[in-house]
Subunit: 317 residues, 2 copies
């Protein structure tokens, strides 16, 4: 399927008047696109515009693209009209499988066949959603992290009937539109970010339940400990930098045995030579040839920048 | 035991010439204290000063306390001299139990009995370290997050023989010195932050091992997803805000059932009414009466500030 180059996308159709749908509409408007927002009921328009206005404050502060304007928003309850001129569709209707399936059934014929339709779904799979769609090849999941207008992450994955080329196109499109796409090979419940987030949340609940830490202590620990680092580098790169000259390999050698400590309720996988190699090679690839001194400088200047930006550069009372 | 008020601390003794010991020395110097750094061998002085100089760049950028100067550092290999005038001792010698015990045995008589001695240990417990110390009541663990000169978190806990009042004093002292103390009731391996960090790390290793995500995808997911939020608010407060008007209670009702989903390898605790109440009350206490709109504004302006500070305010290419 020959698709429009991602640079030529002008008209974006968003579906849904909730925080996710409105968040996407606001984001695409701020990036200078024409946005047509389909809503189920005309009565939702006020809510939709209110959410967009709230998001706009942050978006203005981050800087709008040239020509970006809320005047370039069209709101309609007519699905055929909403879909007719779309170069890309971002669907964020409620998380109800029957509802989503009926929307994709309709969009299957209403949206031009070369246009990618992407679902914000967090709990359903595209394999389920696309089941009754007549043109499922161009349907993908493009799951944002809330709020979609501020968080760069979009997790992209196809369903069973999705064309891998449509998935790749979606990755390129989100990247072009200023997002940080994460293109996955297979559908995994919770994608990547939510799974990782859920791991920390479960451990937190265990600690609270066991009286090992309070809610406030959990939050204090994250905000003043790993949190700011994770705004700069992910957990793998943090260890790669932490390993100094030896990088991730040194880190796994040093702290590998600690995987058997009862530090969390989550049993660790066996650190086989194969897994070690995969992790080490992944970290080295991600480091892109930068040595640990360069990475450490990047980490430290990022931490300083965050502390200053959040007004947390603390001095002795 | 009547101790010096934390505001009257002037002389701090640090032990150890590694990144943690040097990091503490740099931090306390930047906060305007006189610092005496004990090192095992005079040959380590150059390394120590090099580490302090490297840390100083970040500390200067964050802003030094009035009168702060590296000239106020004294380096010595004489433990008696190092301890004589101390108002507070931060010990960061290598993580070797026999070595630490012998240091505490000596410091037990060399450090004035009303002075708190705090260990940076991450892997040992103060109950073990203080075993052969003649004055164990004033010994505590004050575990920093690396690097100690940038990360606010200090996890504080006493050993079996520690005076709870010494633990409380340490909490007040670190707070006064610009740190974010987390005073724990009992010794838990990994404290709070490392346990939580380890949970996410184990899940990441599982995902990499199962081919569900690559090293790069794990990092992309965190840096562009939950990471920046966790620099602003901990996981509990993130959910409390995410729950909107209903706060944490709504969140637990909505997402409680998802705890049974196989989103991570970590089995979740049962969300009993008791655990629910503890989590909800903890979140409400931490929110300190701020409603979700105020908290959302705080979160969003923090995210904007971080994106700008890190040069990540992205626009369409």
């Amino acid at each position: 399927m020959a698709r429009k180059p991602v640079e030529d996308v002008r008209n974006i159709t968003t579906l849904g008047a909730g925080p996710i749908g409105a968040g996407w509409a606001a984001y695409f408007l701020a990036q200078g696109y024409d946005v047509t927002a389909w809503i189920f009921d005309g009565a939702e328009e006020e809510k939709l515009r209110g959410l967009i206005d709230a998001a706009w404050e942050s978006l203005e502060e981050l800087g709008l693209a040239e020509g970006a304007s809320r005047d370039r928003l069209t709101v309609t309850t007519d699905l055929a009209e909403a879909c007719a001129k779309a170069d890309f569709v971002q669907e964020s209707v409620p998380e109800n499988l029957a509802l989503k399936q009926s929307m994709y059934e309709k969009m299957g014929t209403l949206v031009p066949a070369d246009v990618v339709i992407s679902s914000s779904t967090s709990g359903l799979t595209m394999s389920q959603i696309q089941e009754t769609c007549s043109t499922p090849e161009r349907t993908v999941t493009g799951h944002p992290f809330n709020p979609p207008y501020l968080m760069p992450l979009v997790e992209i994955v196809g369903g069973k009937k999705s064309d891998p080329e449509a998935v790749a196109w979606a990755g390129r499109f989100y990247e072009h539109a200023g997002k940080a796409p994460l293109v996955m090979d297979k559908e995994v419940p919770g994608f990547v970010a939510t799974r990782l987030q859920e791991a920390i949340w479960r451990e937190a609940l265990h600690m609270i339940n066991a009286g090992e830490a309070t809610v406030e202590q959990i939050d204090t620990a994250i905000v003043n400990g790993p949190g700011p680092r994770w705004a700069i580098m992910g957990p793998c790169m943090v260890y790669h930098v932490g390993g100094g000259e030896g990088g991730m390999r040194y880190c796994l050698e040093q702290f590998g045995p600690a995987l058997n400590f009862p530090w969390t309720r989550l049993v660790a996988p066996e650190l086989t030579p194969e897994l070690t190699e995969v992790v080490v090679e992944g970290a080295e690839k991600a480091a892109g040839g930068q040595d640990f001194r360069t990475l450490t400088r990047e980490m430290n200047s990022g931490l300083v920048a965050i502390a200053k930006a959040l007004g947390k550069a603390r001095k002795k009372d």
